[in-house]
Each structure stands twice: as structure tokens, then as C-alpha cells.
Symmetry: C2
Subunit: 229 residues, 2 copies
């Protein structure tokens, strides 16, 4: 299986490294390959230059959004909330059509400082916006409720804890479930919330997640859904 | 300790009954006592007439918002999101001043159908609005993340699960913690999120809660916060 991971930030890097370690071919997608490789300073979130990371992860390819998506069977959107739709437009609807599009992004807008605002919020979600704009892609929202390190290594958080999936396509959700299990998520902790509209729930949960991160002083936490079985 | 429970809906009734069972004096507050007792049909949420409930709970008093609040040492706001501020204005700032005001309400607006919208959302919360409008009250947001029956009987949900508190006043939060423990919440599951602004987190979580209720077909669930200790 060939994966494209759109986004060169910490989330994209973490997912790309894990996918390679799991035996997949992975190409990271970026706006301008030359610009990404030319950067010599840390990015806005404090991540070291991509070129440095690439040297430590030589198996991960780097290509334009469009080339990465075109060559992949599954596409992962690991994009900033404010840049996600533009990046997917650059990837191109034809290169996403018919493919599972795993959206792990959150619609966080840091333009007014911290805590970030959510945009959209309440009556729409980024997951829905992506699905509406790319109706031939099979969008599955998942992993957006945990920090990058926990996404690919749930054992960082002790005990049982849950991860959500939202999407319209049952087969695409099956693909994502299998991947989540490869990442270490127990099958019984993968909570199917329903269609892509349910992404509103997990995106809006981010405000509580940010609050807890502040209160706990760490991002290594998660929630477990407890219910009668 | 004398409690006022403002609100005659299912949440108010459930909390009032539990507080009486715990040995407290409880007066439910309502807009117009005569109107509340005259109602002979189920309310908009399908709850049976208040008078019927009162006959089964004769120890619970009923008074106007103002009289209930005036006679209480602790006030519980178990109000609809759209009616909460008006009800608290009717209770009167002087009758709330210096008192712990436990806000269990959620700012749900059902005027456009289901799922309800949140108002306010993202950049403000109902908990903050209440604290701003009644600066002499000691507002503590809690219990708004679980269904009424679970609020007062956490054992309805199996295993460990968490409840949040948000508020500015440390002593008021201690009062609330003690009450939550009386309700059956283990001390280690009471998560202090910080000041009242953190109510944004638990109020916005409601969207995920509503989504899960739909997916699970029951309101008897909750989340457990898992983190390294």
C-alpha cells in the first residue's frame, strides 16, 4: 500500500515515520518541494527543519501535494486547519477521487493567539468541508483527538483509551480501522461515531483537549469511553 | 446546608431528589410557582407534570427563583441554556452574592432542531457569562458532561470515569468536590480544569456527547481521563 501524507509538520512527520516503519511506501506532500528543503530554521511550531528530519528518515519520499497524492492509494491529510482545503485543492480532486482520505487535521485558528479558535465550529466541521469539496474522496476523520506521538503509539498513555472514526464510506472506515490496529489501537477501543457529520463532535472536543493539556502540563493523555456493554 | 435548585426539568428534579436523600434541605426554584403547579401535561422534554413529581418528593420545597435563592446557602443552576441568565436575573444578584453557584447547565439551543447549536461557543461559555453577570457569586461549572441520572449515580456507568470542575474560587470548588464525592464520584476522578474559562472545554464537549448518545443509543456513558500519574 502506498501512502501520501500531506503536511510536513510534526503530525505529518510522525505519521510518515510510523507508516514506513510499518512497511508501507510513503511520500510526504508539500506545497513546494524546493522551499521545504531550503528551509534552515525551525517552523512556527518549533519543529526542526524538514531537511534535517528527512536525513533521519531517508525512506520517506517528498513530492508536491499533487504528485504525492497521485502516486498513493491512501492519502492522509495532516494539515493545519487554516491550510487544509488549499492544500487538498493543490493535491487535486482527480488525485483524491476514489481514495480513502484520512483527515487527522483540526480546524484550529491561531491568528488571535492561544487558545486557538475553531473555524468552522458547531454547525459545520473541517471533515465535512473536505468531504463536500471532494465528494469522490472517501473521507474518514480520525486520530484528531490525540497528540501526534499518541496517534502512532497509544501505549504512551496507560490503561484503556479510545479513538474515534467518522465517515460515510464503510469500506474506507474498515481500511482505517485496520491501520489503527496496526498502530496499536485495540479493536474494541475504536469507536465508530457514524457519518462525517460526527466529526463536529471530535473537532469541538479539541477545546476540552487543549484545556486538559494546559491543566495537566502534558499532551500524553486521552479519554476512554465508558459504557455498559 | 440549604440548597436551592433552580429549574424544574429532569436535571433539577434529579439533583433535588438526590440532595434530599443526602439529608439536605432543598427548595426548587421556578419562575411562577402557581404556573408550575397548574401544569397538567408533560413538558417539552417529555417530563411528567411537576406536581406529580412533587407528590412523590414531598420533602422538596418549591418557591420562586428569588425566594429559593434567598433561603439557600448553595444554589444549583439546572436551567436550560437559553433560559439560564434570565432565571438567574430573576433569582437576583443579591440572593446569589457570596454563595457557591453550581452551574450544571449547557448552552444548548434547540430552536433550529436536533442536534442543538451551542450558544455561546468557542470564544465564550455560559459558565463565564454567568460569572461575569454575577461577579459576587462563586460559580463552579460541573456535572454538565453527563446525563442527569449519572450525575447523582456515577455507578450507572461501569468502571472508572471522570467529572470536571471549573471555577475561580478555590473554596467553592472544595465545596463542590465534597458534594460530588457524596454523590459517589471518587476523589481521584474529579478533574479540576482551572478557572471558569475552562467551562468552554466541557460545554463544547457536549457536541461529542450528543454524537455518542446517538451512536450508542443510550445516555448512560461517560469518559475517563487517562494519563500518566
Amino acid at each position: 500500500m502506498r501512502y501520501a501524507v500531506l503536511g510536513t509538520g510534526m503530525v505529518g512527520r510522525t505519521l510518515a515515520a510510523k507508516l514506513v516503519a510499518s512497511g508501507y511506501e510513503v511520500t510526504v506532500g508539500t506545497r513546494e518541494v524546493a522551499d521545504t528543503l531550503a528551509r534552515e530554521t525551525a517552523d512556527a511550531m518549533g519543529n526542526p527543519p524538514y531537511r534535517q528530519w528527512q536525513q533521519q528518515n531517508p525512506q520517506v519520499g517528498l513530492a508536491s501535494f499533487a504528485d504525492a497524492a497521485a502516486g498513493a492509494q491512501v492519502v492522509v491529510a495532516a494539515l493545519s486547519g487554516t491550510g487544509a482545503l488549499a492544500a487538498l485543492r493543490a493535491a487535486g480532486a482527480a488525485n483524491l477521487a476514489g481514495k480513502t482520505l484520512i483527515d487527522v487535521s483540526n480546524p484550529l485558528d491561531f491568528s488571535a493567539g492561544f487558545p486557538p479558535r475553531l473555524d468552522p465550529v458547531d454547525t459545520d466541521s473541517l471533515g465535512e468541508r473536505i468531504q463536500r469539496e471532494f465528494p469522490e474522496a472517501k473521507v474518514v476523520k480520525t486520530l484528531n483527538t490525540v497528540t501526534a506521538a499518541v496517534m502512532v503509539d497509544p501505549a504512551r498513555v496507560p490503561g484503556a483509551h479510545s479513538i474515534f472514526v467518522s465517515g460515510e464510506d464503510a469500506l474506507a472506515k474498515q481500511t482505517v480501522r485496520a491501520l489503527l490496529e496496526e498502530f496499536g489501537w485495540p479493536a474494541e477501543e475504536i469507536v465508530d461515531l457514524g457519518g462525517i457529520e460526527s466529526a463536529r463532535g471530535t473537532e469541538m472536543y479539541l477545546r476540552l483537549w487543549l484545556t486538559m493539556m494546559g491543566a495537566f502540563g502534558t499532551a500524553d493523555f486521552n479519554i476512554h469511553v465508558q459504557r455498559a456493554r
